[in-house]
Symmetry: C2
Subunit: 388 residues, 2 copies
Amino acid sequence: MNSFTFQNPTKIVFGSGTVSQLGKLTEAYGKSILLVYGSGSIKKTGLYDEVMAQLKSIDAKVVELSGIEPNPRLTSVNRGIELCRSEKVDLVLAVGGGSVLDAAKAIAAGALYDGDVWDFMMQKAVIRDALPIGTILTLSATGSEMNGNAVISNWETKQKRAFGSIHAYPRFSILDPTLTFSVPRDQTVNGVVDIMSHVFEQYFTLTPNAPLQERLCESILLTVIENAEIAMENPQNYEARANLMLCGTLALNGGLISVGTQNDWASHGIEHEISAIYDIPHGAGLSIVFPNWMKYVYQERIDRFTQYAERVWGIERGNKTDEELALAGIEATRAFFTRIGAPATLAYYNIGRDNLDTMAKEAVLFGPLGNFKKLNEADVRQILELSL
Amino acid sequence: MNSFTFQNPTKIVFGSGTVSQLGKLTEAYGKSILLVYGSGSIKKTGLYDEVMAQLKSIDAKVVELSGIEPNPRLTSVNRGIELCRSEKVDLVLAVGGGSVLDAAKAIAAGALYDGDVWDFMMQKAVIRDALPIGTILTLSATGSEMNGNAVISNWETKQKRAFGSIHAYPRFSILDPTLTFSVPRDQTVNGVVDIMSHVFEQYFTLTPNAPLQERLCESILLTVIENAEIAMENPQNYEARANLMLCGTLALNGGLISVGTQNDWASHGIEHEISAIYDIPHGAGLSIVFPNWMKYVYQERIDRFTQYAERVWGIERGNKTDEELALAGIEATRAFFTRIGAPATLAYYNIGRDNLDTMAKEAVLFGPLGNFKKLNEADVRQILELSL
């Protein structure tokens, strides 16, 4: 394994009813709070009222920013930054899924930056400080609740870009699995694919001698596969929802499960280009792209894929060649995604060849994508072709 | 799984040559440093000179406290506390194994406490603050480098007691696997047993529905078993030493691998009574006690032990009954400990029946031990009898 530095300061408060601790958790950071949320489903479920009651109990002054989009947009982030400045906000509180959390991080960092927040996404500036962030998670997927990453879409330029910073780790995150009981089936599915994809990006590495990290990755994959269909069939199964939530959090946890190894992230890069133009759900895009990425790259180091087939999918080697075993694991991935109802082709969203060139070009804007196999523009285009 | 709160703020800097980052890591905390270490082996290896050069590079004023014992003693802790006060220490820097780190934690907490530091160990007071702590680890074993726990021995009262506090987490820990190249074979063995025992304390639980946590535990056990003998046969094998070091750190990492489950810790409680009187190495004591604890309790929930046998030791069920399979796993544990040269009986240290009553009585001072099976004084005595 390689040398590494790891730190993850986020405090997580996990379990049913833990929103009741919000007031106490918030108090230390001041009274002026920017409450960031999405389309308003938190008003239907009663979570909004619960949050407001908690904030009232500590005499907080609450400013609201609602309507954060599923692929959160720069325009919303800029609205939040203005509110932070005009209302002298002490804490940015995100209530929602990964998109809301990501927007809150960009707002918190942008509020203390004397320039255009998009600079962080374009690698023109580094985050030096951010307002404190707290989160209440309502969807198991991105891991944003316990890392310093955010992905923001610039709708004007049709770009979707990410940043990561130690300053953007939430100070606290409330993880109550019961808040995911009402998540619709398709969003549960997208979350499952997203969690598994985060693990894939770390698991498929050329870095040798990282047996613990490999097993940590496999542990999450096995547990997600085991619990996904239980949660889909019975959305109120607490244990399945709790297992998925914990898996989501640990899958992208500042790199905990892959310390000292080189990650890939090509598939995420490709997916970002698709949803930057077509605004499709991130998890759905990953379901389309990832098995095709696997097929395109597995020969680079086939033993990673044979191990994946055996340990994650329980496929016995028998008389299979490495090639057959690796491909069986990739097919099992596609079959699982299909079984839970995740899409397999861009055609599912009526996406054709129109923008393949643009997407391939944008994907390699900062250089070749990925590390397991370095992908140039032509490689990306081929994977997109496979995904049609 | 149960509800839980988790936070682990320690920054770890892992890899060969990372001691070169000490100056930069230390600088933020002030110039007056208490350097805590053990018998002086760090002077032989050259580590002491390297540390002093780093501290000199930031113009630090260094006060030394050497001679920390393998089971660190309250008298040493009190000497350290006096130094912190008289020298207005800003940071306690521990260089050594778990004992040195534990002593540093007690010193850092005691320095800011207006009372007897032993109060923390006797549960008479709670730690409200501590001086910042930094560590450089030289032995893979206790996990003290990334948790808030410490175990201190009171030689006057023959008591060995633990505390845990969020304030006692190191601010940073430097983990350089090459620093463990010179660890003697018996200490490597004790470290291996200690790491595995930390996992056992968390893995053998009655808490249902924690499949991810179970797999995280199994991941560490498998990796330790795989790497222990490689490190023993070739002490300078970097990958084996690195894998053991990472396993040690994650095995007792503020409870990361067992969040939301009830831990046991009875075997540690029993071992502490043995080494409180006989001053034997902690890992050696655990090697003696743990398999006997397993045999004494496995029937409480036999499926935990059959899963252990199958997943960790790869024992096939075949025609075995649950009972046979569980016992095969326990026997495999004992056989592994014996194969790597860890002791199996108290007789190995010429310990007889003399103090069994005292040990059993002290072990339950604060109530029954453990959770997998609640052990009263008579139970502890029986496990000690089995260990003769």
